[in-house]
């Protein structure tokens, strides 16, 4: 599609209203997207993932309700529910110093409040899909935690979808020394061919401790593209876990800037795919300054004709000394037709650096299977034990006990299918 065609589409769909700074942001983003269009496979970062199926869905913005929300995943969470991208119900009884609300309502109450942070992380700005999201997004969640506030109960944001296109725009502002846990749950209804293009921006200030977990269970006909852009200040600790179970075409992109000394990021994930599902995890870990640590541990199990991609890049900037950066990707292939493309990349421009990466792909251990069966464990149960064991170490990284239990349950359900 040419630039004029895109601009004509945007002219019909750019949301109006809101403060001037937001209109400018949307207009600039629309222009950026129009000049680039959707990335194709000639772009190195998109070599393994073909976005053609979503081309016709970019402007299907006639959101209607996706129906009633299922019960929350976590028993005692503050919960926000979006239905096909529009806020349906808000969180109650939030503690002092915490704001968890929809973007649209936040802007209508306080139009200037997000100007300093929204769309400000460089890594996310120049990319076409986040630009498209910035131009068209009408809602998303805003989580802001005042300095020094520790939020004990986790926060849970449900994005329920069944049709059309939605562009959730999420923003997390973790104040200095604050501590919080947020779960983004993308859940599909039916087998609609809808499109989700989500962006979450995270700003973690000095010493903040933030856990952000994402559970992606979109419908098997859906396309799901998500970009997480994070900026960590001095001594900020960020833990992320990406569980990908749903969707037909899935891309999960993370751009993490370790911008303050002592900052630490752990980005882990599990992908469990079958049928013709495609899931691409693309991670850019940027050690901007010295004395920063990063860990990545991604593991997956692929059956049938599923296709997974793992692209993980660790960049260490010049003079960013005293760095540790580790990356691991392991995939279990249950079928001869399943495929994993794993592409580690290290760009190290400093010399006092400890970096490692490793990637493996293999089949279920037949000897282990025989050992289990020889003890009376039926084959299906034995396979499940070995599959669970394969991803156990990664799941064990999840620092929040209740969230880990939820993830373990969902993983178990997948394996029992």
């Amino acid at each position: 599609m040419g630039m004029e065609a895109y601009q004509a589409q945007f002219a019909d769909h750019l949301p109006g209203g809101g403060p001037a700074w937001l209109s400018d942001l949307r207009q600039a983003a629309a222009t950026r997207f129009s000049s680039q269009g959707l990335p194709d496979r000639k772009v190195e970062e998109w070599r393994y993932t073909n976005l053609k199926p979503v081309q016709a869905q970019l402007f299907a913005l006639d959101a209607v309700s996706a129906g009633a929300a299922p019960p929350a995943l976590l028993e005692s969470s503050y919960r926000l529910v979006f239905s096909n991208g529009v806020l349906q119900s808000g969180a109650n009884d939030l503690p002092t110093g915490v704001r968890l609300a929809g973007m649209a309502e936040t802007l209508s109450e306080s139009p200037g409040s997000l100007a300093a942070h929204m769309g400000q992380i460089n890594a996310g700005q120049d990319l076409p899909l986040p630009a498209l999201n910035q131009a068209l997004s009408r809602d998303g969640y805003i989580l802001s935690i005042d300095p020094g506030v520790m939020v004990e109960r986790p926060m849970e944001v449900l994005f329920l979808s069944d049709a059309g296109t939605c562009y959730p725009r999420n923003l997390v502002l973790a104040g200095a020394g604050s501590e919080a846990t947020v779960v983004e749950h993308y859940l599909g209804r039916g087998d609609g061919e809808y499109f989700v293009n989500a962006v979450t921006e995270i700003h973690a200030a000095l010493g903040a401790k933030l856990r952000r977990y994402k559970i992606q269970q979109d419908a098997f006909g859906a396309s799901h593209v998500a970009t997480l852009a994070g900026q960590l200040g001095d001594d900020a600790h960020f833990e992320n876990f990406d569980l990908n179970l749903g969707g037909q075409l899935v891309r999960s992109e993370i751009h993490m800037a370790l911008a303050g000394q002592g900052a630490e990021a752990a980005l882990n994930g599990v992908y469990l795919l079958r049928g013709k599902q495609h899931c691409d995890n693309a991670i850019q870990m940027d050690h901007v300054v010295g004395a920063t640590n990063s860990h990545q541990d991604y593991r997956g199990i692929l059956d049938d004709k599923a296709h997974a991609v793992f692209q993980g890049k660790i960049t260490v900037r010049p003079d960013a000394q005293g760095i540790e950066g580790h990356q691991l990707n392991k995939t279990l292939l249950l079928s001869d037709d399943a495929e994993i493309d794993s592409k580690p990349e290290l760009e190290i421009l400093a010399d006092d650096v400890k970096c490692s990466h490793g990637a493996t792909a293999g089949e279920l251990d037949e000897t282990g299977l025989f050992y289990l069966r020889s003890r009376g464990i039926p084959e299906a149960e034995a396979r499940q034990l070995l599959m669970t064991a394969f991803i156990a170490e990664t799941v064990a990284h999840i620092g929040h006990d209740d969230v880990r239990a939820v993830m373990e349950r969902l993983v178990g359900e997948w394996m029992a299918q």
Partner: protein, 251 residues
């Protein structure tokens, strides 16, 4: 208990067992000795129904049933136990989970009620104490980071929990020093009884000083070449396997 008649079996199209006849009665302990490559391990895998080990002729009858009707897990649940020469490491599967899953699978098959965590731990404690198995071993992945002796003790622990009628112990002595061997042999002897039969496979006579068999058989070139009492083991120790190996092609 077990009746093997004219058993032929191949692995990947190569015939390894070439007509085995063996009868093991209730409560009896038989030893199978033989040189490397004689088919000892193949026999143990055929008895457990491992994929790729194909019976081409003959029959195995276990407690009145044709064993070929049962797959590996059904054989285990029916009371056949294989102690592995090389116990398999299962990283990420905790020993406790493994043992509980196995015991409950077998109990389910036998129509017994599954044990809950408390009942299971109580039962487990009895055996781990006797076999000197530490809590640390139980917390680790199955056999992961275990010494040779720990792995074999773990095999005996599984046998003790699952209470089989018929146990095949494949080279249980391999990789053990004399002290570890004594502990394992004590564990095995404690499980001997009038209702439980065993087939002890070994290359060396040494093990049979500690687990004294009722009968000894020599396996060579896929056949039982000689059978006798426990004194046969001593004779082999003295003379070696020369007479069974010389003059014939390697199996």
């Amino acid at each position: 208990m077990l009746e093997i008649k004219g058993l032929h079996a191949d692995v990947d199209g190569t015939e390894i067992l070439k007509g085995i006849d063996l009868s093991i009665g209730e409560g009896e302990v038989h030893a199978i000795m033989g040189p490397n490559g004689s088919g000892k391990s193949t026999l143990s895998y055929v008895l457990s129904g491992r994929d790729g080990y194909n019976v081409t002729a003959g029959s195995i009858t276990y407690r009145g049933r044709d064993l070929s009707e049962l797959n590996t897990e059904e054989r285990a649940a029916e009371g056949i136990f294989l102690g592995f020469q090389y116990p398999v490491e299962l990283p990420g599967v905790s020993s406790t989970t493994f043992l509980k899953t196995a015991l409950n699978a077998v109990r389910r098959h036998r129509g017994e009620e599954e044990l809950d965590a408390v009942q299971f731990m109580k039962r487990l404690r009895v055996h781990t104490k006797a076999l000197n198995i530490s809590d640390d071993m139980l917390r680790r992945g199955v056999n992961v980071g275990f010494s040779g002796g720990e792995k074999k003790r773990n095999e005996i622990l599984q046998m003790a929990l699952l209470e089989p009628y018929f146990a095949v112990l494949d080279e249980t002595d391999s990789g053990l020093d004399i002290d570890a061997l004594k502990v394992v042999a004590e564990g095995v002897n404690a499980l001997r009884g009038p209702k439980r039969s065993m087939l002890v496979i070994t290359h060396y006579q040494r093990l049979l000083d500690y687990i004294v068999p009722d009968y000894v058989h020599v396996l060579a070139h896929g056949r039982i070449a000689r059978s006798g009492g426990k004194e046969l083991a001593l004779e082999l120790e003295e003379k070696g396997y020369g007479e069974f190996v010389a003059g014939t092609e390697a199996a």
